[in-house]
């Protein structure tokens, strides 16, 4: 399993180093108009989005877990969590643009505008719209990671101790529980930062254009017919790696400093009496974010259905006697052309990764250290910008004759799905009381029988979720599909990115709709199956 994940990633890095160390190309990279600003935008948007998402996630978890929204928080963040970045990005652009859904809802009534104003809101030079898109996704991811990390932290005990000292629940949580949680999530947080700086999924629909973010610049160079410019892409991808390393060092150093001040502030012992304003503030902020995120998904469906979408009508008018059936007839062939490949890859990835994980999870069931090490190793590829190692992966797979094949793309998808599947399967496996095993074995069952009849049913719900998660990860993957698929394998993600990259919002919306619907359906199915499987049982984790 580790070979599957690490070999291509390592090979990728080595290839990137070999191909990228080129002084002439470096000079050309640095001579590109606006490259400094481009790198600056990448750093600024990545860091700002990570900091904001982290703060929001902490506040959300603190408010929810000391209040009544405990289960609702994870349930409500699930749609935004599972819908791919690209789809959220494309949808968000449709919401906040001057001719977007928000302005349509307000016009002409509240704004008095009959025509959309000329405001630079989407793809703004400061990258604010892009930061917004990243925050929508990453805060949900970090909320999930924080909730999972709660298992490793004696939260209830810490909270009670702080409460008995007279702190309000929110203050108590933020002073003692949050710092403990923070220590548990460093690795996923680093992955969020790296993704923020080096993604193209949000930068294509929402990022600025003159100049674009550095990774979008690289993405364009990779697809340039000129070999000289190609060489710039290799060198640039090494530069991107360097930028990420520096950003990580800077980020965690600053994090250390912040921790120091946070602690001093907490130790001053000031008790806040009333926490209601803070709670309301957090609630309103989260609701606004959630509503915008949901509108983004709604906007995808509206845009996909609308041929023309004249401002300021909210609902696309069915023109020229067009019926809903005509709309479907124009959309369905587009969606169908990639549905097969998308679903095949996602299903394949889900089953391959789950099958790879199960034996390893068995081995590491009662070995916390091994579990941690495997998890960290599997996570390594996510700490390297995709751009940097994917070209090497492509070279490796080309040598093996696997480029442009489903098997090759599946492999690359597995690299990205494994860490997440491991995260939930391994910890669920270790949480099963070993005495179940022991009882089964003393009753004379073989190891295999015990595994199939005791462990697997106990794990069933986790496995269903793991399958849905791997499915969702695969659906979302863009760069791996593009590079390893050699342009031959078109999925909803590659088509959505291509359409968004060429600015065609309707085409992008149709593909993004599929991107959004597939993971949601997978999770709904997983929960549905889990619920029916254990309808008549008690005590089995649902």
């Amino acid at each position: 399993m580790l070979t599957v994940s690490l070999m291509p990633a390592l090979a990728g890095l080595v290839a990137a180093l070999v191909l990228g160390l080129d002084g002439g190309a470096l000079q050309r990279v640095l001579a590109t108009p606006g490259v400094g600003l481009s790198i600056g935008t990448s750093l600024w948007t990545g860091i700002a989005a990570t900091v904001l998402s982290l703060l929001i996630a902490h506040f959300a978890v603190a408010a929810a877990f000391t209040g009544r929204w405990r289960t609702r928080l994870t349930a409500l963040s699930l749609p935004l969590l599972t819908i791919p970045h690209l789809a959220i990005g494309i949808g968000l652009a449709l919401v906040i643009a001057p001719s977007g859904l928000l302005m349509r809802l307000l016009s002409p009534g509240a704004t008095g505008l009959e025509r959309p104003p000329d405001w630079l809101l989407v793809q703004d030079p400061l990258g604010l719209s892009m930061i917004g898109g990243l925050v929508l996704k990453e805060s949900c991811f970090l909320i999930l990671i924080l909730s999972v990390a709660l298992a490793q932290v004696p939260a209830t005990r810490l909270l009670q101790q702080a409460r008995t000292l007279g702190y309000g629940p929110l203050q108590a949580w933020l002073s003692v529980v949050a710092p403990a949680l923070q220590r548990q999530i460093r690795v996923p947080l680093a992955a969020v930062l790296v993704f923020g700086i080096s993604n193209v999924e949000m930068a294509i629909p929402l990022g600025p254009d003159l100049p674009p973010t550095f990774s979008v610049l690289l993405w364009r160079w990779f697809t340039d017919p000129d070999a000289m410019i190609h060489a710039q892409a290799y060198t640039g991808s090494l530069l991107l790696l360097l930028i990420n390393v520096l950003a990580l060092v800077g980020f965690f150093t600053a994090g250390g400093a912040f921790r120091f001040f946070w602690r001093r502030e907490s130790e001053r012992g000031q008790r806040r009496r009333c926490e209601a304003p803070q709670r309301i503030g957090i609630g309103v902020g989260l609701t606004v974010g959630w509503v915008i995120g949901t509108l983004a998904i709604v906007a995808l469906f509206l845009r996909a259905a609308a041929g023309a979408w004249p401002f300021p009508s909210v609902l696309p008018a069915l023109q020229h006697g067009e019926t809903l059936r005509d709309v479907l007839q124009s959309i369905l062939p587009v969606a169908r052309s990639v549905a097969g490949s998308t679903l095949l890859l996602a299903t394949g990835t889900a089953f391959v990764t789950t099958l790879l994980i199960l034996p390893a999870a068995e081995k590491a069931a009662h070995d916390t250290r091994l579990r941690g090490n495997i998890g960290a190793l599997l996570f390594l590829p996510l700490l390297v910008p995709q751009m940097t190692f994917l070209f090497g992966v492509q070279v490796l797979l080309t040598r093996m004759g696997l480029d442009g094949t489903y098997a090759g793309v599946l492999w690359s998808h597995a690299i990205f799905a494994l860490p997440y599947v491991w995260g939930i399967v391994a910890s669920a496996r270790s949480a099963i009381d070993p005495r179940y095993d022991a009882v089964s074995r003393t009753l004379g069952a073989s190891t295999l029988k015990t595994y199939l009849q005791v462990s697997v049913p106990l794990l069933a719900r986790t496995l269903l979720l793991a399958i849905a998660l791997a499915f969702a990860v695969s659906v979302a993957l863009y760069l791996p599909t593009l590079f390893v698929g050699a342009g031959r394998i078109a999925t909803a993600a590659t088509e959505a990115a291509a359409a968004s990259g060429s600015g065609s919002s309707r085409l992008a919306a149709v593909h993004a709709m599929l991107l959004a619907a597939a993971p949601l359906a997978a999770f709904a199915l997983a929960y549905g199956i889990a619920a029916t499987l254990f309808r008549s049982r008690t005590g089995v984790p649902r």
């Binding site: 108009p33 001719s99 697809t223 070999a227 190609h230 023309a308 979408w309 062939p333 098997a407 291509a498």
Partner: protein, 395 residues
Amino acid sequence: MFAATLLACLFSHSIAASEPDLRDEPELARQAAGQTVYFNAWGGDFAINRYIDWVAGEVEKRYDIRLVHVKVTDIAEAVSRIRAEYVAGREQNGSVDLMWINGENFAAMQHANLLWGPWAEELPNSRLIDWQGNPTTRIDATLPTGGYELPWGTATFTLFYDREFVSTRVRNPDDLLCWIEAHPGRFTYPQPPAFLGTAFLKQLLILLTEDTARLQEAPGDDFQTLSAPLWAWLDRAHASMWRTGRLFPRSGPAQRELLAAGELDWMMSYNPAEASRAIRQGLLQDTVAGMVFSNAALSNSHFLAIPANASAKEGALLVANFLISPLAQIQKADEARWGDPSVLDPNLLTAEQLSVFERLHQGGATAPLPKRRVPEPHPGWSAALERAWLARYTR
């Protein structure tokens, strides 16, 4: 299963290593049966994608060929992939079989000997092409195609505007600049190097430069002087353009959506029938009309080419032959489908075919024919203009 399919693919490719005979259509069809043809073509437009889908259905029925439309944002992506395949030593069984290509990308591939040919003038249907009447069918941005490219559509650079908001007549760049300055935020063009953006720059350059013959040769030291009027025009226009020239739509269709949403009053296309088609399909308000710069309208043909390492050359040839058949050209010229003008010589068509062509309805938004067409400048100009544009307008 994957391995089996993979092996089957490799096997079927290795059979077809010998050079296909173009004139022997039945033999070609026998060899092409069962082949998968990867057609790399721009995929940014609903209608065009649907047209290619229709073609796929037809060649499947006729020749048992599976046509896969590999949708690229810019055909340069496919050129770079082919180049990478050659670097990796893959001189056969390449991933691209047929490509929709033009200008500088054709020049780059031809220069690197990456194209297969000559084949274009030997196809059975190529005798129907208007080679004499339309010289752009043999010359792609000043480069002779030499049979390495097959023309499959013609184009004239056309501006479209919303009559409800544009009442003055625009005949030249000065008129346009006046309108832009009087209506801030309502005009823009696709961001170069998107091909329509570059086309707009070329069209302006042609109109602003007295010496159009000079543009037929590669730019040299005089690039600065010759392009100076263009930059002066753009500097002034940008200040009054959509998003004050700090953001541009990424393609022609993107700009069309902005026009449809009411953010803009203008769009542009190489296809004079673009707006008529879009109006018919409900994609654009019916107040849009087209115009060409009548004294010097930038015109060209667009082409098909086969890479030298294509895996399914027989299939690609049959698909190409079908694409220039009267049936496919009629369907393509139909504004209900794509509305792309045909490359065929009307005199060589049967009376029946001709009457179908003539019966094709032309919408009211289709631009009138220009008085004088100007062929594409040397591809060196596209590259130089794009570079200079990015250097100038990237902050």
